[in-house]
């Protein structure tokens, strides 16, 4: 995304309030062509800032974009002066979007670059806690994270003596450790954190508690309490148990703690009355995630929210397709972590809600009431 003048078409960077080519005020952020050429590079060996001092030497360069502007950028180690590069904005440890230059083509072990890993939360070499291994999403997430090179995947299972489908995929597998966790139970979360809290680099909160219904078709607050207990209070339990140690370990070497992932219903953004109380519990979790993001930021730990439409599981049996396959959610978790993203939308429904919400929120509210 770069600013482009609506009057004369010139691209501008750094961000400004008037076009340097024609002084128009109409500078909109648009997707800009990502290609450029590295004009010059340097390696900062004695940075003045404590963050970079710890990480020095740090390589940066000046990139001339094919579309015009020159950009100071963090450099992937395989970038060479004079050669083409591809630019992207990445979120750095402080949550600021910064320009990053990568070689135009793929290079060996490209994602393992030290400076690139500082911008991302790649699960490779990291230890991950997936909080609920009883669900399909949890099991798919474990498999995807293992396949992505996670060193260890801890997978939480409540009441572990109770058998569950897919159990054999988790038990006795190399690099997968089943641990006892019931997120809705404060003591359970605290006990687990006492055991492994210092080893969790990425936490994937796969808590799922889906029940249909809104307000008038239900009697009393029992189900709503369960929804809040499981999703919202469960989130708080997990955050209080694991968040402080994660925040402290954000700079703990190349495989530091890196990210917290929430899987949220896209109806957290706009209430879907057919699952109205559930939507509200998800909205509460979304709000809480922003609080968590702010509180984890000083440690350089990202919070990624993954928004999904109805998932192809038993609690959405009555909902017609398209539905999201649990595997697609798992793959999105990995790709989001590799890209160091804060938000990711999985599937057609989630993407549609995102677009319609941006276009006309009142119309979306009305149309969801069907």
């Amino acid at each position: 995304m770069l600013q482009r003048c609506e009057a004369c078409g010139a691209f501008a960077y750094p961000a400004r309030e008037a076009c340097p080519a024609c002084l128009s005020a109409g500078l909109a952020f648009v997707d800009a062509p990502r290609r450029g050429a590295l004009l010059a590079e340097t390696t900062a060996r004695v940075p003045s800032d404590v963050y970079f001092r710890e990480r020095a030497p740090w390589r940066i360069g000046l990139v001339r974009m094919d579309c015009g502007p020159t950009m100071v950028a963090h450099l992937h180690a395989d970038c060479a002066e004079g050669a083409p590069v591809l630019m992207s904005f990445q979120l750095d440890k402080s949550g600021q979007a910064v320009a990053f230059a990568r070689p135009e083509g793929e290079t060996p072990n490209m994602a393992d670059d030290r400076q690139w890993r500082e911008m991302t939360a790649d699960p490779k070499f990291r230890r991950v806690l997936v909080t609920n291994g009883r669900s399909l999403i949890g099991q798919e997430a474990v498999a995807a994270l293992k396949a992505a090179g996670a060193k260890t995947v801890f997978v939480g299972v409540s009441e572990p003596w109770r058998p569950f489908a897919g159990e054999q995929l988790l038990r006795g597998q190399q690099g997968i450790e089943v641990v006892t966790l019931d997120a809705a139970d404060e003591k359970s979360a605290t006990d687990l954190a006492a055991d492994i809290g210092g080893k969790v680099d990425i936490l994937v909160n796969t808590t799922e508690y889906v029940r249909p219904g809104g307000l008038l078709d239900r009697r009393g607050t029992g189900v709503a309490r369960d929804e809040i207990d499981q999703a919202y209070l469960g989130f708080i339990n997990l955050a209080q148990a694991f968040g402080p140690a994660m925040r402290m370990r954000g700079a703990d070497g190349v495989s530091s703690s890196a990210a917290w992932v929430n899987i949220l219903s896209v109806y957290a953004l706009a209430n879907w009355p057919a699952f109205g109380a559930y939507s509200a519990s998800q909205a509460a979790c979304l709000s809480l995630s922003h609080c968590l993001r702010a509180e984890l930021r000083p440690g350089g730990v990202k919070v990624m929210n993954l928004f999904t439409g109805p998932i192809d599981t038993e609690w959405f049996q009555t909902v017609p397709p398209p539905k999201v396959a649990p595997r697609a959610v798992a793959q999105a978790i990995v790709s989001g972590l590799r890209g160091g993203l804060e938000e990711i939308y999985v599937g057609d429904v989630a993407e549609e809600i995102r677009q319609r919400l941006a276009a006309n929120p009142k119309a979306l509210e009305r149309e969801l009431d069907r």
Binding site: Y13, P14, A15, R16, P20, L39, A40, E41, T42, T43, A44, R45, V46, P47, S48, D49, Y51, F52, R53, A56, W58, R59, I60, G61, L62, R64, T70, M71, V72, A73, H74, E81, D92, S94, Q96, V98, A99
Partner: protein, 379 residues
């Protein structure tokens, strides 16, 4: 132009910028033998004055002025101050202008200045390794050196010559000799910038007075006459990387207005935040063609006794960079030279001097540039 004063620099100071500026004003008054109330114009530059600008300083120092300016142009501040002050006295808006720059240097001042230097810098430079000016100029230096086949040894000649000059300046912060071997062996800071390419941030102040001839005569003050000046900002914006400064746009006018040629100058004071920028100025100020800077420094002796006396006080590289006073350092030393008051750094029979300024690396290049030619009473 009269009464060049320098308040000796200190690496760190617990005083405020206002303290340093106050010392400079006091020294100006003492040197010119005037009363503070005779000063009716004030021009100040500083990075570390906090919320104050020139207006706050009038009350702070008990000055009642009818012409006031605050110039935030970094290394180009002195030339800009001189230009504005000269026009103001010429137009009789004001009689005696005190041009002063001063900065303090607390232990964390320099990092804070880097972090908060400009909006573009804050958005699009500082978050990239926080290498500060060293990293930004490293990119410019690398491109310039590659483009024109300049070696570190070529650039190092400038730093080494300035250190030799500094050894004769009792106020220079750098007091030990520097050989080209030491220069080349220095630790890298931000390649190709190495330790002796960098200035030492410090506290200090510099100042001079600007007035009409007749005012100076009535005060019995020795003066230098301003022959010409140029100033230019954001020049050559279409150059993908900076290989020339704004001087190159106006250099013809600089010499034509003064009625002199580059070869007539007795002493040259360039803005040396990095020696490679000085080399660029040798080209852009007409001492050689673009791309010939390296050959020029190989062919000339840049020391006080040499055939091209340059940055005779040691420049910022060896005397220290006292914030905005760094802009004034060359101009004030040039004034001392043509007034014959430079003492241990005096170039014999110097009567014609050039001083230049360069500043404000807002994003990827230095935006501000300026230069002045002035002559001593003997010319």
């Amino acid at each position: 132009m009269a009464a060049p004063v320098t308040i000796p620099y200190a690496r760190y100071s617990i005083e405020s910028a206002q303290w340093w500026i106050g010392r400079a004003l006091s020294a100006l008054v003492a040197k010119a033998g005037i009363k503070a109330s005779d000063i009716d114009g004030l021009c100040v530059s500083s990075f570390t004055m906090g919320l104050d600008s020139g207006i706050g300083l009038t009350q702070h120092f008990g000055l009642c002025v009818r012409w006031l300016d605050t110039i935030p142009l970094g290394g180009a501040s002195a030339i800009a101050a001189l230009r504005k002050a000269a026009r103001a006295v010429q137009a009789r808006d004001v009689d005696i202008v005190a041009c002063v720059a001063g900065d303090t240097n607390h232990v964390d001042s320099f990092r804070l200045t880097l972090e908060n230097f400009s909006r573009f810098n804050q958005d699009a430079v500082y978050p990239y390794g926080a290498g500060g000016a060293n990293a930004s100029f490293a990119l410019i230096a690398r491109n310039y050196m590659r483009t024109y086949g300049v070696t570190r040894e070529d650039v190092g000649r400038i730093a080494v010559a300035q250190r030799a000059n500094a050894l004769r300046n009792p106020h220079a912060l750098m007091k030990t000799p520097l050989t080209i071997e030491q220069y080349l062996a220095a630790r890298p800071i931000s390649d190709p910038i190495h330790l002796f390419d960098c200035v030492m941030p410090c506290a200090g102040a510099e100042a001079f007075l600007v007035m009409r001839d007749e005012t100076a005569a009535s005060l019995g003050l020795p003066v230098a006459r301003l022959l010409s000046t140029i100033e230019r900002h954001n020049a050559f914006a279409d150059d993908p990387m900076q290989v020339r400064g704004g001087w190159a746009m106006d250099v013809g006018e600089l010499y034509a207005m003064a009625g002199v040629k580059p070869g007539d100058l007795d002493v040259v004071q360039t803005y040396d935040d990095y020696p490679v920028i000085t080399m660029m100025q040798f080209e852009d100020l007409g001492f050689c063609n673009k791309g010939e800077g390296a050959a020029f420094v190989r062919q000339h002796d840049l020391t006080i006794g040499g055939d091209f006396p340059h940055n005779t006080s040691g420049g910022q590289l060896s005397a220290g960079q006292a914030g905005a006073a760094g802009a004034y350092l060359g101009l004030v030393e040039g004034l001392r030279q043509v007034l014959g008051e430079a003492g241990p750094t005096q170039v014999k029979d110097a009567t014609l001097a050039l001083a230049s300024g360069f500043g404000m690396i807002n994003y990827d290049r230095g935006l501000a540039s300026g230069a002045a030619i002035f002559a001593g009473p003997a010319r």
